[in-house]
Symmetry: D2
Subunit: 383 residues, 4 copies
């Protein structure tokens, strides 16, 4: 029985790996180990670890690694702490393969720890291009990983060019779309009550047009976040439509975004904005299916939105160069430009679904590969 250790570091991580976790757990030749870490453990990000447990997964370790401060300095230090702590975890759990997701500091910490401990590393969502600090991390992790699970075709080609063995690269699609596909197939079952019972601010009737805003700090533009979120909030306010606004993730600069949101809420909000720390994924996907326009810089506006056909206004540099569908309009962090793009998307309405990032069966493929793949712990470049 191969022991497969999945490291879940955030809500986004979890929805990007949950279907694979289920498939690993159900596979006769695999034993699943789950490590919850980083923002997945924190109350202010909605205790994702509790959700993982309530989904029936056993948590093998809880690894606190985030330093307070949310500056570039504390982000570096959090990565260092994560490396120290996850090394102990892997030393104790002795997995055959560690699965790490994406490109964040818990991903980097996981990678360093497994590398020095001679444990095989599988990486999901490698090979994508975004033009941010996350991109450097993503490609660096590719150079450490032994098994690659990219989510789209251009990512596969990029990983090959990076000198990885073609037989180590498995084009499985994004496991998050497995969840999205499942939710879209069962939209009537989604309990939408959190929309009215949770969050802060006025409740919103989603049978009428509304906007979603999901905007995160850009770590290389540290200090600009407050103005950036204010531009977006004001552009949305100008449309007159009600809006659902999500709090930012925990990257360096999130306090700037949060401060902008608080200022807007206290001084400019005329009562049709509703702020959520987080939403269950099924509620979120149903909102994406219904929204007049999704605004922000979340990858969801590129990836989920392509599959669902959500009209999307993508802001600034955070998703630069990520492969995208016809449903996306890219604009700068400029109030007028944002307003114009939103109006255009409202006018257009929903787009047809595109399968760029997967067909809804990624999890099963990942488990099958993990059960049978081979690797050399000492990697070498192909050229």
């Amino acid at each position: 029985m191969r022991k497969i250790c999945v490291v879940v570091g955030s809500r986004a991580n979890y929805s990007s790996i949950k279907s694979a976790m289920r498939a690993i757990d159900n596979h006769p030749d695999l034993t699943l180990q789950v490590v919850a870490t980083s923002s997945a453990l924190l109350d202010r990000y909605g205790q994702v670890v509790d959700l993982v447990e309530s989904d029936g997964f056993n948590i093998d370790d809880r690894v606190y690694m985030l330093m307070e401060g949310e500056t570039p300095l504390t982000m570096a230090k959090s990565t260092g702490i994560g490396t120290i702590e996850l090394a102990s975890t892997f030393d104790r759990l002795k997995p055959d393969i560690v699965v790490t997701i994406g490109d964040r500091f818990e991903t980097m910490a996981t990678t360093i720890a497994t590398t020095y401990m001679n444990i095989a590393l599988a990486h999901t969502m490698g090979g994508e291009v975004t033009g941010t600090i996350d991109e450097s991390i993503r490609h660096a992790i590719t150079k450490f990983a032994h098994i690659h699970f990219p989510a789209c075709k251009d990512a596969v080609e990029r990983i090959i060019k990076l000198g990885e063995l073609p037989e180590s690269i498995h084009n499985v699609g994004c496991p998050r779309l497995d969840l999205v596909a499942d939710i879209i197939d069962n939209l009537d079952d989604v309990d939408m009550s959190p929309i009215t019972t949770e969050g802060v601010g006025d409740s919103i009737d989603i049978s009428n047009p509304f906007i979603i805003l999901s905007q995160h700090p850009v770590t290389t533009e540290y200090g600009a976040g407050e103005q950036q979120i204010l531009n977006s909030l004001r552009a949305i306010k100008d449309t007159g439509l009600p809006a659902i606004v999500l709090w930012p993730n925990g990257d360096a600069g999130s306090e700037d975004i949060a401060r902008g949101m608080r200022k807007f809420r206290e001084h400019e909000d005329i009562g049709n904005f509703h702020y959520f720390k987080n939403l269950p994924i099924d509620v979120y996907i149903k909102l994406m299916k219904n929204t007049a326009c999704l605004v922000g810089n979340s990858s969801s506006g590129i990836r989920d939105a392509a599959f669902i056909g959500t009209p999307s206004v993508n802001l600034g540099t955070r998703q630069n160069m990520r492969e995208r569908g016809l449903n996306v309009i890219d604009v700068d962090n400029d109030q007028n430009a944002i307003h114009t793009a939103i109006q255009q998307q409202i006018k257009n309405g929903p787009y047809p679904s595109e399968g760029i990032y997967g067909d809804g069966h990624a999890g099963k493929r990942i488990a099958d590969v993990l059960a049978t793949c081979k690797w050399e712990i000492q990697k070498t470049i192909t050229y």
Copy 2:
């Protein structure tokens, strides 16, 4: 004035960057900052930091980062500690560019710290292939670095293939060969007295044939080191020649090597081996010029040896696929095979010099590039 911060983590680091440090320090548009860390601070590696100071460099920070234990677990943890500590150092020194050397855990820690703190990273000796854990680290660092100083031609081509901007890659040669060239030009000035006054064991007359052994642990073969060094020591003993034996570096597994050396010394040494913790580089280079054969798995046996023309027997996997000259015979960690290869090299004698890894002017080129180069802190892959 650009502030250039050089992180020195070991004796090998220092000799690989010293000529560049001198050139940076002397450059009218650059200010040199020096951070000593990792084994460069430790008594049992000969207090390299004192040497740096006695060479006239000011030490801006001393960063302890090594955990005792020398297991894969503590190696991972040391990297984490280094990340935490170096982040504070860079936060305080506020360099424009950090220069990191090679592929070791202080290199990795330096890289993570600068990356999250949005500081430009220059990397020396990228793009080389060795087939070990260090290779993954080296290529990953290339994906983080903004300015590349590879030491040889095939390394340049590999960095381009890795998707780095060609204008960010500067084929300067290895700065260590600047030192080697200088020593070779002044062999008569070298004070060889450490050969007789230091180390443990019988003194050796270097006017007669002798062998050098320099063997380090292979981190992916943790646990095998004791037998590996015993094979080498016994093969050398069988030649009947006296030998100079160097203690291993501080990688995971070095205690195994050291234990093997102690056992040999106490029970099998017949009195013609001399053990050194370390040697001044000029003494070492003069020994390489004079030795009948250099045995081991140090990169010096590939790089310095090509330039000097030293007959070299390279052991096992540690230097796999590194570009090499005609002077190298590769063998497995097998006593008989080692013995045969040594005999062949003794018979052959010195080889002609080859310039694969540089012409002795790398340091000056590095300083000139650092004074004028441009970079985008947000990197993106070229394909």
Copy 3:
């Protein structure tokens, strides 16, 4: 010139040492060094470090040490990180004496770091009894400190009984009361506009009777905080008076308190509560001078309140056994008991001032002692 390094870890710390910092800075034989750490660096505690700077003090180092999570586990880890980080700070600043305040985890971290680095430690507010985890920490720090600045007479006696040299103990009073005295002398100068322009919830007219609530988690009652704060809020609501409510400090359990406050605000608040993350000390003291009753478990309700004569209802175990004046009524965390005690205090009105914790000249005394005191770095118990 003796170098005196003051470590400021929180808003409370700062007001407890500010007058001493001023006196040290002005002393001809002393050089002040200021290290800001722990919650003093965090936005969500109101960036105390900015306040320190705007008061004209230079910040010699900023040391992040808090891990996110606010559980007992992360509290222990934060202390460990603080020890690691502060050791580097002291190594670089090379103070002759480090001044540490009170009994929190940054105090403990400061103490361990100075102890192993053979630096003299001065400790303020030692010798007090509270019956909480902080008490153990406080007495332990006394056993490490070389110079003691207790704030009241029974604390002096306790430090002597703990086996410290009588000549190392200086009964100076609490420097915080230096600030309080100064504010009370100039009440008309206090700018009370933050009461109306900041915080969340309805503004309060302080010329009419109002209540203050300041309640922190009890670290040894982890998990009970939500119910505890709800009891207090409901008891206050029952009085019908408006209230000013302060957010808790960052101890383990503060998220419980915060959650209780948010629940109350969203579901039970009828519109006469005003919530503040923090208040300038002069505003806070003027509120204490005017309030009908201060409720909670903050030490301010014991110490400042004695000096000011504020009617105070002290809740639960957090201030157990601290010397107190006639102005304090102690009750359990029980809604009815709290309500009854508040009513009694409202009826009573203001009390006469008592000087138990100082006369307003502590800072000057501390600086004078630091300039002339002697110590043996190797301490030994007096019995």
Copy 4:
């Protein structure tokens, strides 16, 4: 079943707690948990953890915590790392009581971790006076501990004076003397072969007079160690007797001692000194029973020596004020003074046994107390 977690951090720790571990393991109402940490994990201190396992104890966790460097700075940092790491261990093992031994940095780290995690702490060897940095640590730990196991009568009285509850103090004697008593009762069974087969230098015939030297760095005299050990070695050399010399522990300054030993060995040793990294305790005790004189500053020269009746010359300040028997002569770190004292002890011969530090039944008493004791997790001082 109460879970009792014993933290073993060094060879000295282990011999000071082994008999209690055995008694806990055998007790029907207790479950033993063993955590190996600090120098107990390191090869260069002889892998004490292997000895613990070969004695039949299961190791529940191995916690690396030592930073390389052995300076005051790294000592502080090691304590911080230990706190971080041990907190995770206790979080996972969830002991009812943690047992910590003595006064070293792993003891301090253990104490901080348990304190913030609300776990009861039992402390052995509290209340003793030595006049070193260890003494401050020891008394501070007393102020955190809930259950006290002092080894001698004056220590009991001191703990009471420190304000601890008399019913929490149990005068059990030192468990190390349980081992010593057992060995003394079975001297003929001791396998003395390590004396000839291990160590470095000439073998020694223990049927003829010989001297033992066991000298550790004094952390508050950092930098003086090299001269101190040279004084001792030369004084012993002057007697003409052969000597068994033990390597120092891992405190700050141990490299100084080690350097002094290496210099002596290489340049002044005339061939009758035998150097041991460590010795099995039974071998060591039999040597103490046979030696003409034990020289150094180890506590063994005070405690074990009193029980065995070994003539002992105690050097310098490290054991200042520890209760001692008639068998001890105290001298400064002065070559002539040491020589004179050794001569006097050789002339005197063995002393009668004294029971100051225990009667050989401490372990059993400790287990019985741990099985039945009560405590309040919130401590308060008795005055």
